[in-house]
């Protein structure tokens, strides 16, 4: 199979959704988009009037089945690109992007399960593309999601996750590392070995594991998973450095 060339295209903003106080989903209509696999990302390029440019990478949150490309961008206050995307960008604006990029941190329904998805903060975005793809294909693959958020307010895609929770074969777990909602009986701490064990599936079933989040979160989660006995080659990681 020949890979499509990674060329710059212009997308048009068709929807803007504020997901939480510092993250926004940008839905784009991108003529000529070659399609993508859940887990991939794009490069976005902004150009000022005098030709000055700035580029960053963002994960795709929409599944391959969606005709539109949706990115969820977290605002980095002292950044250069994310404040524009989460603040200034309006409906109908044009945005230059290219992709899809990456082929390691990807999952297709035909790859099957079991699947263990571990997300820290906005690391949920590429994993959400996998969950949406799983739902679009009516996959029954044994799938566990553990998402760590600072608080309920910070949790991305909250109502959609609640709706997905009823799907066959899917178990969703949240942990709130800073502030749990009132009456919450689930996890309310940083991820640890006990939490990952109880989420499962265990190493014996050799799940495909995807871990995405800030560097410190990913380092910790991957290390704990190896200590629990998971084969390092089954653990795929994507780390978000500070990326303004």
């Amino acid at each position: 199979m020949r890979r499509p060339a990674v060329v710059w295209r212009y997308g048009t903003v068709t929807a803007l959704i504020d997901e939480n106080p510092h993250a926004r989903t940008i839905e784009l209509d991108v003529p000529g988009w070659p399609g993508h696999t859940a887990g991939q990302h794009v490069d976005v390029r902004l150009t000022a009037e005098d030709g000055y440019q700035s580029q960053r990478s963002y994960s795709i949150g929409s599944p391959p089945e969606d005709p539109r490309v949706a990115l969820t961008v977290e605002r980095i206050d002292d950044g250069e690109v994310s404040p524009y995307l989460t603040g200034e960008l309006r409906m109908g604006d044009e945005l230059e992007l290219r992709g899809p990029i990456g082929g390691h941190f990807t999952w297709r329904a035909q790859d099957g399960g079991p699947l263990l998805l571990v997300a820290g903060g906005s690391g949920l975005v590429p994993l959400m593309a996998m969950l949406r793809h799983r739902a679009a294909r009516s996959s029954k693959a044994d799938t566990r999601l553990l998402v760590s958020a600072r608080s309920l307010e910070d949790l991305l895609y909250r109502s959609e996750l609640e709706a997905l929770a009823a799907s066959d074969g899917l178990a969703l777990h949240q942990t709130f590392s800073r502030e749990a909602p009132k009456g919450w009986t689930g996890f309310a701490r940083r991820i640890d070995a006990d939490m990952l064990s109880s989420v499962g599936p265990g190493p014996a079933s050799r799940p495909r594991i995807f871990v995405c989040g800030p560097t410190a979160f990913v380092e910790r989660a991957a290390e704990l998973l190896v200590q629990l006995g998971h084969d390092p080659s089954t653990i795929r990681t994507e780390r978000f450095g500070p990326s303004g």
């Binding site: 990674v6 000055y52 200034e88």
Partner: protein, 200 residues
């Protein structure tokens, strides 16, 4: 020429534009990018090997390796994920020192690493004072998450070519893509020509 993005002005950090390749931004942090868990190979199990198309295959234990003549050098590094970091200081052994003993016959190199990572480069890019096996950053032992105990350092190419947790290089008669090169990243990866992806 790209069209103007409405309402974008840019923050324009104060940096020397001649030191920042196209599409890159300068960071003071040292971000981490790896495809899997960080391996932790004990130093008494660590070796560095030169194998494949060479007259004299060679291998060094950790103790032998750090006894080799080393250099302290300061370079700018450029990651394909867009960050560049200027004036980074490293200690390592020049590939000239290592390859001089092995007498390569092949013209291509595949670097191999703990964790299964690989990357390919032309031999010409590893010689002539352009590449090192680095084991200290800023005078301190290289942290595992940044590739310690030792990583390849080829600062004139995008940083994925500077393989973390490197355990050796294999000389080859023919070029073959490494890990990211097989997933659509550029085969050569010159940041100044913005060779990020295969079609660039």
């Amino acid at each position: 020429m790209a069209r103007v993005t409405r309402g974008f002005h840019g923050r324009r950090p104060q940096v020397d534009p001649d030191r920042v390749p196209p599409g890159q931004y300068v960071t003071r942090d040292f971000p981490v990018l790896s495809a899997g868990p960080t391996p932790h190979t004990p130093l008494d199990k660590w070796t560095f090997a030169i194998r494949g198309a060479v007259e004299k295959p060679a291998s060094w234990s950790w103790e032998e390796f750090v006894e080799l003549p080393s250099e302290v050098f300061t370079v700018d590094i450029h990651c394909v994920t867009k960050w560049s970091k200027l004036d980074t200081s490293w200690t390592g052994v020049s590939l000239d020192t290592l390859l001089g003993q092995a007498e390569p016959t092949g013209k291509f190199v595949l670097a191999f690493c703990d964790g299964g990572y690989t990357t390919n480069l032309p031999l010409a890019d590893l010689i002539g004072g352009q590449a090192w096996i680095a084991y200290e950053y800023d005078g301190q032992p290289l942290e595992p998450e940044h590739g310690g105990p030792a990583r390849l350092l080829v600062p004139h190419l995008y940083f994925w070519k500077s393989a973390k947790w490197v355990r050796g290089i294999e000389l080859r008669d023919h070029d073959e893509p490494g890990f990211w090169e097989g997933y659509g990243y550029h085969n050569y990866g010159d940041p100044w020509r913005e060779q990020r992806y295969w079609s660039d």
